[in-house]
């Protein structure tokens, strides 16, 4: 057999050499990062801009929220930079945002956070709406001492013992509690007795947490929970559940849907003639948002839901933001946008505070943290609080807002169109809650 002149050895040699050189360079870089050489900086450099990382689900089932949140962020940043002159205590530094898609798994959310930290060196990250994504992100931000401000509502997140974690929005269980309190308040005001209830919820950790909040509150207030039914959010047939509820005949139903299942439930309930004293939603998904109303029509008439944001709050800044959002994007801002509004303005307040408290090193994580903890915002001293349902923002040591609360919206027929209106805790102008459901 004639010997073949093979190119393989040469190629192997080249590859090995390249690999060794690359390895060497990389390792040198790695070890050099472990012990940074001291730099001589006589004066602190002026901060031109503060980059905030935003991680939101832009693809997958939760893309609805992510896209809305990013739109809201762009609006807020424009206002802060152009109308308010940037962060004044930092010499008018502008805000800049970098948006990363959280993807469809905790793995990609984690990568998004790592990328923001290692490539953009952001001091603050906002996100990621979904609790298990946020959990993956949180381990990264906590380890790197990056402030995480979250719009994910599951209670567990603030129980991790994280130090650099803040949540302005009301946590999941308080949504459940709000829904129950609203119903019982209205019942009392209209002299209706509520004795029994059925709770249904989509079976993710979020739906379950909200529903448990509701369950506990109902039990506390002496209402008997006849059944607590959970179901998969992508359920295609609600009739077994609706049939079961009809048989149980409760006074009220507390429902915690996702979106499609909410519409499906409303339509199926209408077809079955299910009409208890009241049907209240909780958890900010479904029933009363513009798209659900469009899809369900009058099947969702008189349904309510709790929201982390009140778009009808009559403060100056809130109305201004809502109008501007509608003008830019053609729809009313709901949950995800609202959370972004007040959270981003809270971040702005914290940056201002940090600049005042620590003019030499405002973006130091521990300084930022202290700035956050020192905030005590209300409607007269900040924009952020004007946008928040309860009008007050102050952080507990675990990062949750001490004055967290939700607003309740109801679908009513206003001038012939189905419109969501705020009915609780303060109804918007010219409106009141319709309770009980007509026909009961």
């Amino acid at each position: 057999m004639a010997s073949k002149r093979s190119r393989i050895p040469l190629i192997i040699a080249i590859i090995v050499v390249i690999a060794v050189i690359a390895a060497g360079l990389g390792y040198y870089y790695y070890t050099s990062k472990l012990s940074p050489t001291p730099t001589i900086t006589p004066t602190t450099p002026k901060i031109e801009k503060v980059v905030i990382g935003i991680v939101q689900p832009l693809t997958g089932n939760y893309a609805i929220f992510g896209q809305e949140a990013v739109n809201a962020a762009k609006l807020v940043v424009d206002i802060i930079n152009n109308e308010l002159g940037g962060v004044r205590s930092l010499g008018g530094a502008k805000l800049d945002i970098v948006v990363e898609d959280a993807g469809t798994s905790p793995e990609s959310a984690r990568l998004a956070a790592e990328k923001l930290i290692s490539q953009y060196h952001v001091p603050i990250i906002y996100g990621a709406y979904i609790s298990r994504f946020t959990l993956a992100m949180g381990t990264v931000t906590e380890q790197n001492k990056v402030i995480l401000v979250t719009d994910a509502l599951v209670d567990d997140l603030s129980r991790q013992g994280w130090m650099y974690f803040f949540r302005v929005a009301p946590q999941a269980s308080s949504h459940g509690v709000s829904a129950v309190d609203f119903v019982l308040d209205e019942a009392k005001a209209h002299n209706v007795t509520i004795r029994t209830a059925v709770i249904i919820n989509e079976d993710s950790i979020f739906g379950t947490t909200v529903s448990n909040g509701a369950h506990l509150e109902l039990a506390k207030k002496g209402v008997e929970v006849l059944a607590h039914i959970s179901y998969p959010y992508d359920i295609t047939d609600m009739s077994p559940i609706v049939d079961q509820i009809k048989r149980l005949n409760p006074d009220i139903i507390i429902a915690i849907p996702y979106f499609s299942d909410g519409v499906l439930f409303a339509k199926t309930a209408k077809a079955a003639g299910l009409n208890p004293v009241f049907i209240a939603g909780a958890g900010a998904c479904g029933f009363t948002d513009p798209d659900s109303i469009k899809a369900a029509g009058d099947a969702v008439l008189y349904y309510t839901n709790t929201y982390s944001y009140n778009p009808a709050k009559p403060t100056d800044w809130n109305q201004k933001l809502v109008k501007e959002f509608e003008r830019r994007y053609g729809k009313m801002p709901t949950e995800a946008a609202g959370e972004m509004f007040y959270s981003l303005f809270t971040i702005y307040e914290a940056l201002e505070k940090a600049g005042q408290m620590f003019p030499d090193d405002p973006l130091n994580p521990d300084h930022l943290r202290q700035a956050f903890l020192s905030l005590d915002l209300n409607e007269s001293n900040s924009i952020a609080a004007q946008l928040y349902p309860t009008g007050r923002i102050k952080f507990a040591p675990n990062g949750d807002n001490l004055y967290a609360g939700t607003a309740v919206l109801q679908v009513q027929l206003i001038n012939g169109t189905l419109t969501p209106v705020v009915v609780w805790p303060q109804p918007q102008a010219g409106v009141q809650a319709i309770f009980p459901r007509p026909g009961t």
Binding site: K4, S6, R7, I8, I11, I12, I15, V16, I18, A19, V20, A22, A23, G24, L25, G26, Y27, Y29, Y30, S32, K33, L58, T59, A63, G66, Q67, V70, V99, E100, D101, G103, S105, P106, E107, S108, R110, L111, A112, E114, K115, I117, S118, Q119, S131, R132, L135, A136, T139, D156, Q160, D203, S204, I205, G207, T208
Partner: protein, 319 residues
């Protein structure tokens, strides 16, 4: 046939030099290092799947079930009984293997094959997903905050990368061993034509079960590393689309080819992340769209997968 001939060991050595070199090169950038670790772990699962899918030709779509079952077993043993994961992963693998064999025995015995086998395995993932949610609730369970090799939870992504690399080398060696041994010979025969294999006296059920057992054990053991990357686990770990992705990567790589499996896993997973990070925020869904188009193109134009490409390159090199 020599089990571990010189050529293969040389190729493996070169591969390892490249991998380690890459690891060192990236160790300064935590984002890229994490990505490399994730990509390598994905390659582990695809290369392991090659045992049942590539070498034996069975359309198994349950890898995420074994991964989750094994990983969760390991985690619970740690969280509830204090068993360090370095030991616990063997229990995890055993549990996954146990379930696989328990179901595999009647399945192969009664001759469930092809599409039906694929659907059965896909259904298994959903069944376990629902059962886990029903019994353990929808909660996220967090790994204890303890670090160290014995917990298989290193402090740096670089060390995680190295651990995964060790697992990958083991998987490659297992693949090579099976491929070049008598078992591999029978499995290949089963893959080519199961009916004919049976008629010449090969106990197809027994060999399929063996392949299933090995694959499910390794997948179950390595599952814990997936949980380490997620930092938590829940019923969502039983994920049908992940199992399908793993199988598809094995196909695109070229059935039976270990190098193809690894290459396709690395290329597509990296590409997927690149698309997500550059386009995800700009045009939502565009990254997945392009991924889908790539799948179509490769499937239609090069069904022998990347392995076919490698063969062409090897021939060119040999000239």
């Amino acid at each position: 046939m020599e089990l571990f001939n010189r050529e293969i060991l040389l190729a493996l050595a070169i591969f390892e030099i490249l991998v380690l070199g890459l690891g060192f090169a990236l160790s300064g950038n935590s984002y890229l290092m994490l990505l490399a670790a994730q990509v390598l772990l994905f390659a582990v699962f695809v290369a392991t799947w090659n045992i049942i899918g590539g070498l034996t030709g069975q359309l198994d779509l349950a890898s995420s079930a074994y991964m989750a079952l094994g990983g969760i077993t390991t985690s619970l043993l740690w969280m509830r009984l204090g068993v360090p994961p370095l030991l616990g992963v063997f229990a995890g693998g055993a549990v996954a293997m146990g379930l696989a064999v328990l179901i595999g025995l009647p399945t192969f015995r009664f001759g469930v094959k092809e599409v039906w086998y694929a659907l059965m395995t896909a259904s298994l993932v959903v069944i376990l997903n629902n059962l886990f949610r029903y019994t353990m609730g929808p909660w996220d369970f967090y790994l204890p905050s303890k670090w160290g090799l014995i917990y298989l939870r290193p402090r740096t992504y670089f060390e995680l990368f190295l651990i995964i690399d060790v697992v990958l080398v083991i998987v490659i060696l297992v693949n090579v061993y099976i491929s070049n041994s008598k078992i591999g010979y029978y499995l290949r025969s089963i893959r080519e034509d199961e009916l004919a294999s049976e008629s010449i006296g090969i106990d197809t059920r027994s060999y399929k079960l063996r392949a299933l057992a090995i694959y499910s054990f390794i997948t179950g053991a390595a599952g814990f590393l997936q949980i380490v990357i997620y930092s938590s686990f829940s019923y969502r770990l039983f994920d049908t689309s992940l199992a399908i992705s793993i199988a598809i990567m094995g196909i695109i790589g070229g059935l039976g080819s270990i190098s193809g499996s690894i290459a396709s896993a690395v290329i597509f997973r990296t590409l997927g992340e690149y698309l997500r990070s550059s386009l995800g925020g700009v045009f939502p869904g565009l990254d997945l769209l392009l991924y889908g188009i790539m799948l179509i193109i490769v499937g239609v134009l090069k069904p022998e997968g990347l392995a076919g490409l490698f063969n062409q390159v090897r021939r060119w090199l040999g000239k």
